[in-house]
Symmetry: C3
Subunit: 338 residues, 3 copies
């Protein structure tokens, strides 16, 4: 059970309500008014809890689980224990997430600007926002409805933020247009100068960075991640993309929609990613290249040239993933021969 010191469960749900939340058709001949009071994993759930089976590895736990109801794929229906109500779905983990979000919603925003926040008079916002103590909001910022800005964060001049966006504590946001339903975690830096210099005999002067950062709707950005603003045009993070902690995004990078960048990965300046790209942890992508749609990049890879749509790559420099595995095996065999 979640520690009640940190997590407040909202309430209980009937099977009917759960059916509506997940758009799942309930089995016939059950009591649709039966009440469930929490979510739980298969091995600790009791008859008042809802669980899920997503993975063959947990079938033994599933067979003896005491969970009152369980999301599962049709294929496993005949293995369900006698007293469990089966909730058939194509995507049990996704259904479970929907119910988990219902039981543990994001904390309600206690609207209002804390008296220890500092908001310039030209800032545009309504009384649905919550701004924590120590926040600094500079001139000409626009903040949408139901936004939350965490303690000691700094929002610099001209930034625009959409609705329902959450910015954690200790962040810095500058030169940016931030969408709606965006979640920016603690310590994120968005919109600082890109790393662009003009060099003359080893001495470098800064090239002015005259672009912005555009964060589209539904994006999530992990703790202490850094996103530089464009030289002009802009650095763009596409709708629905999720960046993990300590990720680096260089100036003028364009990230497509629904991409995943796992922690400590980096994308160098002016590189363009398609949609649905998945980048493993600690991978790096060179500058000025193009990564196609649906590309998957293994952890710790180094990408130095364009990658076509739908390719799966790994290694430094990267090769098709099967070739990378073959190289690894070949090297292992080579030292055996010696």
């Amino acid at each position: 059970m979640a520690d009640p010191k940190f997590f407040q469960k909202s309430k209980e749900f009937t099977l009917d309500q759960i059916s509506k939340i997940t758009k799942i058709t309930l089995p016939k001949d059950i009591n649709t008014k039966k009440i469930f009071n929490d979510i739980a994993p298969l091995d600790s759930a009791d008859k008042n809890k809802i669980s899920f089976l997503n993975n063959k590895n947990y079938i033994n736990q599933f067979k003896i689980s005491k969970a009152g109801a369980c999301f599962l794929k049709k294929d496993f229906l005949n293995l369900a224990p006698k007293n469990m109500i089966p909730l058939i779905t194509e995507n049990p983990y996704h259904s479970f997430a929907l119910v988990a979000n219902a039981f543990y919603p994001s904390k309600d925003i206690t609207a209002g600007v804390h008296p220890k926040a500092h908001i310039e008079t030209s800032v545009n916002y309504d009384d649905t926002v919550q701004i924590a103590p120590g926040v600094i909001v500079s001139s000409d910022v626009t903040i949408g409805s139901n936004c939350f800005i965490g303690a000691n964060s700094v929002i610099l001049s001209g930034v625009t933020i959409g609705d329902n966006t959450i910015i954690g504590p200790n962040c810095t946001i500058a030169y940016s247009i931030i969408g709606s339903n965006v979640k920016i975690h603690n310590g994120v830096r968005i919109g600082q100068d890109g790393f662009g210099f003009a060099e003359n005999q080893n001495v470098r002067i800064k090239m002015p960075q005259l672009g912005r950062v555009i964060i589209e709707d539904d994006v999530e950005i992990g703790a202490n991640t850094t996103i530089d603003r464009g030289t002009n045009p802009d650095t763009i993070i596409g709708r629905g993309s999720k960046l993990d902690n300590l990720v680096q995004i260089g100036h003028n990078v364009v990230i497509g929609k629904n991409c995943i960048l796992v922690s400590q990965s980096g994308v160098s300046g002016s590189t363009v990613l398609g949609d649905n790209v998945i980048i493993g942890g600690q991978s790096g992508i060179a500058g000025h290249i193009k990564i196609g749609n649906n590309v998957k990049i293994a952890a710790k890879s180094g990408i130095m040239k364009n990658i076509k749509n739908n390719e799966v790559v790994g290694g430094i420099p990267s090769v098709p993933i099967k070739d990378w595995h073959r190289q690894t095996i070949t090297l292992k065999n080579l030292i055996k021969k010696k």
Copy 2:
């Protein structure tokens, strides 16, 4: 000598006092009241300074050092210069560190809450703590005795902190139980959401992250490091473990006791490390695997499967360290043949 603008030496010590601090038996027939006024390296020490010899590479410096006393192993005793008092120990660097800490103790805490800190009324603490200006402490936080919280740090609701713990400036701590004698450096982020989503046709919803972060006693966490809270159960950093700067710890990770994670290394979600594990810089460990006790991982390695107790590994993907060296040599030889 340390810059007195930044470092205040506490006082002087007699050989008797140094013997007590280090639990070293003094040589016979020496003046145990002799006073030492500082520590110094072999090459700049004078007769009033204490030095150490930890490494054969410094034997030439040692033979002509003017240090008044020196920690060394028994084996080097016959090479000591005439006027140096030899302080025999199995671990000269550790003995030197004990004395260095005596000469340069952590700054005394000037107890009290700065009037420009913001502490909610429900926070539990006594008058031995020091809280710097700009700190924000949310509701229901408990802070132990003699803790220090640096300027502009943010401690969110429900966090518990043990005794004698130091949190640097500009940190964010949320959903966490922090032990005693813990040192958290500047800009650390602890307790934010893990990177967990349920995906349906490339669109992702957040899985609520209902666990906490447990930081056990005597842990040190480097600047700008990020530690996500568990999904439920918790993310745990075991007693005495030391994390360097810019390290990433995913949700549900368990780090054993006395582990070392060098800078820019990362551990992915749900992976479990045993005790005394050493992870080199920029290494990455995949999620959902198990690393045994006393494992050593070379810098820049990629660990993709379980590692047994006491193994030493390197490479991407990692292999036993000797095999990695052989692979490296084999590759070098292959290109010579061409």
Copy 3:
């Protein structure tokens, strides 16, 4: 055109003025009073804009560009379109950067200490500095003329800062001597303890870190980068060096002049870099080694031993760059044979 919400153009310039800014000799028989009102890329420039040609890849754009004037190398003069005024220079990108900085100068500092900053009485500064709200400056700090310190940054006791230095929001600076014309981006951590411990039977005590960080003039440090102070002596970043985001610099490291460290690279403790060293993104350098002048290190490399002046290396562990390319090709060929 740069978004006027974020970027204010200063004014217009005549060709005469541009000639003075760039030290370029104008062609004969042109109207040196002709006015230019902005910079622009070749493909969107009109007759009132100045552009540049730095790269053969843009020759087709160049031939049909409507730019009123363009920086270019002598070799391309005969390809210039009829109405373009050619501005001949050995380094078109550098000349363009000079003019770009003239059109878009760093924002003027609105001098003064914000009433919501907290400055200890012993701090030394004049009325040309600007200190934003939420900044905390501890005792005995010295701040030079025309410095800017961004919101919620923390400057700890004894730090000295030269003239014209810019420190972004949410930074922490401790135990440091910072030069003039330095730019420190958002969330940077400078001067915290190095990662130095004395170990005894797996238990570690901290070795006091009694050195400082010296940042020389004209250095730039990227967002969320971390620089540990020395054990004694100091950690040093040499004049004109540029560090990107999320870079890690260990204790006692010495970086020479005019070095470039691309994002997510790291240098371990006590390593010394010469001048003009370029380190690619996500590269790591082991501790206690020496890197010569003018060394270039490919992205994602691992450097484990000394590198001589002028070498170019890549790979993990690194080898001369040509050998690394050969190894890569050899591996590709090996798996084809199978």
